[in-house]
Structure formats: structure tokens, C-alpha cells
């Protein structure tokens, strides 16, 4: 596995080898699925759309429907305006969604198609809506695309149409996380007795039940009415700088809803932060059930620390997940040694460095806009004992015989994960279980017969 990997470190400044990211439209498509009754539309050739649908479907193991402008050579030369206008007409005629969310592709961005103008010139039936986001993949990553589409939702839909803000309602922009994580954040917020609008919201869309009745537009998703009403909420919490802050800032500018940026609540401290922010801003009472859940996490950390404490770990994936994951492995007493994200942004390096140095660890490398080739070379030079990241880490895991705990997007070779939260206190338990078990499985596999223990 990866036998040709050069052992000596070789810097590459142009291009990426085995990137730790994918392209903008995947994020935009995922965000659009978090609107109820929405058909995401890919303005480009069919290949893009097919690939994005495939990738999302493989991760969620649920249907991902999206339409395409179906560019051919003609559209590539003359522009895609005619294709988009015909698409919009056909989609409403045949598939009748409430809303179409158009995102662009590298091809249409390179041509320079003026999407807002084309939408204005399109035939849109009464009561139906078309929104858009520009998602050129030569910039940023799938997280940038996600952020752009969520920002598009605010641009097109959010409105301030009531004089006073709804005092007891919070908007939560959850970031690029699994439906189970969105569900967990909604549960915590509702346990605190606070009304909430979450958008985008892929619960009951990409984790929908099998009922023998096929729904093209499943029950879930934030409704257009909800996204519109987010302009009247008292506060917005944006979870994750890269995925959510742009939309929160725009909502503040457009509708005057104040915005507090937080981490995605992965780990004890980030979950504490979410609960304390909600408690203080809404004068909420934290129910005993949450205090118990939190106490169970502390109890489990104490009971299991010797399975993982002091172990070196490499973490890779999306910045809004990797930052709180780094914080949590520090809480677990592990040593984050290599931390990379494929998404650009110096702030990633600053935030991660600050956390690691506060824990008194000096020997580490953090890099934004990094790739898995470089990570592998660092590991060859100085190994780690655990990989924490997406399925793409499995090649390094096999080549170097290091256990891989799968978290983040995409996970293509394991199931059930989109239904199991890694957020909140419940998510802490799941992460501890996965990490602990990875080390124990290794021990059972590797130890001598005389050291093989029933009890561990």
C-alpha cells in the first residue's frame, strides 16, 4: 500500500496529492437538501451532478436527488443561460419542488454565467422560488460551497417583517454535520426550553425511515417559512466559522439579528459552551437530564483514560470538525501531533496552535490547506498511534498499520454513522467508545497469548 511514497519529506507547493477536501458544489448540494421541498440544481455538465450525488449518497446511504443544466459543447461555448431557463421550466413542470437551489460548477463559472439575471429571466410559477449560490471549485472547498449556499438562503429568503424580535427564539446554523448531529443539537436546545429555527436541517431528509412509501421530498428540512422568519429571531448561533459564520453575519447585517459564533459542539467543552451561551442569552434553566449526561461523560473519561491517555494522534478533515475534535482529544489527555484540513484559512492554524500550546504540547504540526500525502510523510518520519478522520485515511492506516477512527465527511466504507451523533454529551460517549475500542482491538490483535486478557 502506497509503496512509492518517498520516505524523505518532499515539499510540494503547487497542487495537492490526496487532498483532504472535495469541491464546492458538494457542500452546496448538501446544504440545499436541508431546505424542505428543495431540489438542488447543478448548473454545469451532467458529470459534476452525477459525481456529487454519488458521493453524498455513498456517505448517507440515502437518496440524493438533484437536477443538472446538462451542458454539452454548445453551452460550453455560448454559455448556459438557455439550459438553465429550460431546466427551471422543466423542473417545476415535472418534479414540482417548492424551491430550486442552483449552484454553479467550474465550467459555468469559467464561462461567467450571470445566474441572478438568468433566474430573473426564467419562468417561475406563482409561489415557487429559485435561489442560487456561486460555487467555483478553484476556490476553497466543499465547506466553502456549503457556506455559500447557506448564505444564499439568507440573501434570498430571510426577512425582518416584525417590529420586535422574537425574544424566545434562536436561529441555529449548524454547519456541515450529519443529520444525527443536527438532531442532537435540536434536542439539547429544546431540552433547554428554547424555540429554534435550524437551517439548513437535513434531519428527516438524509436519515429518513424506510416506510414502503417513497417521498421525493421527505418530511424534513427547514421550511421556506422558517428560513424567512429567521430574520425575526432574537439571536443566531453559528456553529463553525468556515461553514456558518458568513450566513450569520449576513443575517445580522440584513435583519439586525445579533450573531454569536461558536464551535460545532463536539467534545465536553464545546458542548458546555453551547449550553452556557443558550442559558445566559435566554435565561434558560439547564435540566437535570443534561447535568446527568454531562456527568456520565466525565465518569467515562475517568474510567477509560488509561486506554488512550498520552497517545499521539493525527487528525484530518473539515476545519469546523477538526478544531473541536482537537479540543476533545486534549480533554481526553491524548497528544494531537499532526492536524490538517484541506480547507484554506490561517485562522485554523492559529486556533489549533493556541489550544495545543495551552495544553503544554510543543511538538506538533498544524496546517490548513494541507493534504494526506504530506500527512503521510510526517507520519513516516515520526509515527502516531491513531488516525482520526475520513475514509480517505484508510490507505495511510493500512500502509503504516495505524488504527483509523472514522469521523467527518466523507465516510464511504462504514455504515450507520450518519444516524449516530458525535455532537453533544452523547457524542462524547461515542467518540470515547470508538477511540478506546480502536486501541483495545489493537492490543487484543497484537499481544502474546500469555498477555491475552479477558478483562481490560
Amino acid at each position: 500500500m502506497l509503496e512509492c511514497m518517498p520516505k524523505a519529506r518532499s515539499e510540494h507547493t503547487t497542487g495537492k496529492i490526496n487532498p483532504a477536501k472535495t469541491c464546492q458544489p458538494i457542500g452546496a448540494m448538501y446544504a440545499a437538501l436541508g431546505i424542505h421541498g428543495c431540489l438542488p440544481h447543478s448548473h454545469g455538465s451532467q458529470g459534476c451532478c452525477a459525481y456529487h450525488r454519488m458521493h453524498l449518497t455513498r456517505h448517507f446511504r440515502d437518496q440524493v436527488l438533484a437536477s443538472s443544466s446538462s451542458f454539452t459543447e454548445g453551452a460550453s461555448v455560448f454559455g448556459g443561460a438557455a439550459n438553465l431557463k429550460t431546466s427551471i421550466k422543466n423542473i417545476f413542470d415535472i418534479y414540482n419542488p417548492e424551491i430550486i437551489a442552483v449552484h454553479t460548477t467550474c465550467l459555468s463559472e469559467t464561462i461567467g454565467d450571470d445566474i441572478p439575471t438568468i433566474i430573473k429571466q426564467s419562468e417561475i410559477p406563482e409561489g415557487k422560488i429559485v435561489i442560487h449560490a456561486n460555487t467555483p471549485s478553484y476556490q476553497g472547498s466543499h465547506i466553502t460551497g456549503f457556506s455559500n449556499m447557506v448564505k444564499g438562503m439568507v440573501t434570498y429568503l430571510a426577512e425582518r417583517d416584525e417590529e420586535t424580535l422574537r425574544q424566545k427564539r434562536v436561529n441555529i446554523i449548524p454547519g456541515f454535520i450529519n443529520p444525527a448531529d443536527m438532531r442532537e443539537i435540536k434536542r439539547i436546545t429544546s431540552d433547554l426550553g428554547i424555540d429554534m429555527i435550524m437551517f439548513p436541517d437535513t434531519t428527516d431528509v438524509l436519515d429518513s425511515p424506510l416506510t414502503s412509501k417513497y417521498e421525493m421530498y421527505p418530511e424534513g428540512g427547514a421550511t421556506i417559512a422558517q428560513i424567512r422568519a429567521s430574520g425575526n429571531s432574537r439571536l443566531t448561533l453559528t456553529l463553525g466559522h468556515w461553514s456558518s459564520d458568513a450566513a450569520g453575519a449576513l443575517l445580522q447585517e440584513k435583519c439586525g439579528v445579533p450573531c454569536i459564533p461558536l464551535k460545532v459542539p463536539i467534545g465536553l467543552k464545546a458542548t458546555d459552551d453551547l449550553i452556557m451561551t443558550l442559558k445566559e442569552k435566554f435565561d434558560a434553566v439547564v435540566p437535570k437530564s443534561l447535568t446527568i449526561e454531562r456527568g456520565q461523560v466525565v465518569d467515562t473519561l475517568i474510567d477509560t483514560h488509561f486506554h488512550y491517555q498520552g497517545k499521539k494522534v493525527a487528525i484530518f478533515g473539515d476545519p469546523d470538525l477538526v478544531i473541536p475534535l482537537t479540543e476533545f482529544v486534549l480533554t481526553m489527555g491524548m497528544i494531537p501531533t499532526y492536524i490538517i484540513t484541506g480547507t484554506p484559512g490561517r485562522q485554523f492554524e492559529d486556533e489549533v496552535s493556541a489550544m495545543i500550546e495551552a495544553a503544554g504540547i510543543q511538538d506538533y504540526i498544524v496546517k490548513a490547506e494541507g493534504d494526506l500525502f504530506e500527512l503521510h510523510q510526517w507520519i513516516k518520519e515520526k509515527p502516531v498511534e491513531l488516525l482520526l478522520g475520513t475514509s480517505y485515511g484508510k490507505y495511510i492506516a493500512r500502509a503504516e498499520d495505524i488504527p483509523l477512527v472514522r469521523v467527518g465527511f466523507p465516510i464511504l466504507d462504514r455504515a450507520v454513522h450518519p444516524l449516530m451523533p458525535i455532537t453533544g454529551y452523547r457524542g462524547c460517549l461515542r467518540l470515547i467508545e470508538m477511540i478506546s475500542n480502536a486501541f483495545l482491538e489493537r492490543r487484543d490483535r497484537d499481544c502474546l497469548d500469555e498477555d491475552f486478557e479477558l478483562v481490560l
Binding site: 439547564v286 454531562r294 498520552g310 489527555g333
Partner: protein, 92 residues
């Protein structure tokens, strides 16, 4: 035995709890049945019969293992996170 040192043979639960409240030990070495009681009292507990399935503790390398296990038990960050932030007393 010096003054302030206690030795109890065949220690029962009452004596263990009493000892913790009076002596405030930083670490309790015991068996598996007492380990989790120590945890709930807020004190790290290590199993001395099974070494918590770690070890060996004999010899020079064993001493290194012992030191690592004790250091981990005492320093694991979760000990500082027992009280939920909404339970902290006093003015904001």
C-alpha cells in the same frame, strides 16, 4: 508507623469512606470493587491486584510502567471538569 499513618487490615467499606474523608488521599490503590467508589469520591483509583490490566510493575521497566500509570491517573484532564459550568456557585 509514624503518627498520622493508618494501617487497616481487611478494610471494610465504612472504614474506606471514613479514611477518605479524614485523610484526603490523592490516590487510592485498591481492587476493582473499590476503584469506582474512589472515582465517585473524586479520587483517582488504580487496581493493584491486576494493575488495571497494565504493567508489569516489577523491575526497572516495571517502575516506568508504574510511574506512567500513576501520572496518567493523577493528571487526566477530566478531574478538572467534574462540575458543570452552570453549577458553579458565586457571582457571575
Amino acid at each position: 508507623m509514624k503518627s498520622g499513618q493508618v494501617m487497616i487490615d481487611d478494610c471494610n467499606h465504612y472504614e474506606l469512606e471514613k479514611m477518605v474523608h479524614e485523610i484526603h488521599p490523592d490516590l487510592i490503590f485498591a481492587g476493582v470493587r473499590d476503584k469506582y467508589i474512589a472515582h465517585k469520591l473524586g479520587i483517582p483509583g488504580k487496581q493493584m491486584h491486576s494493575y488495571d490490566y497494565s504493567g508489569p510493575y516489577a523491575g526497572f521497566n516495571g517502575a516506568m510502567n508504574f510511574a506512567r500509570d500513576v501520572a496518567n491517573a493523577l493528571t487526566t484532564p477530566a478531574w478538572k471538569l467534574i462540575t458543570a459550568p452552570w453549577e458553579h456557585q458565586g457571582p457571575k
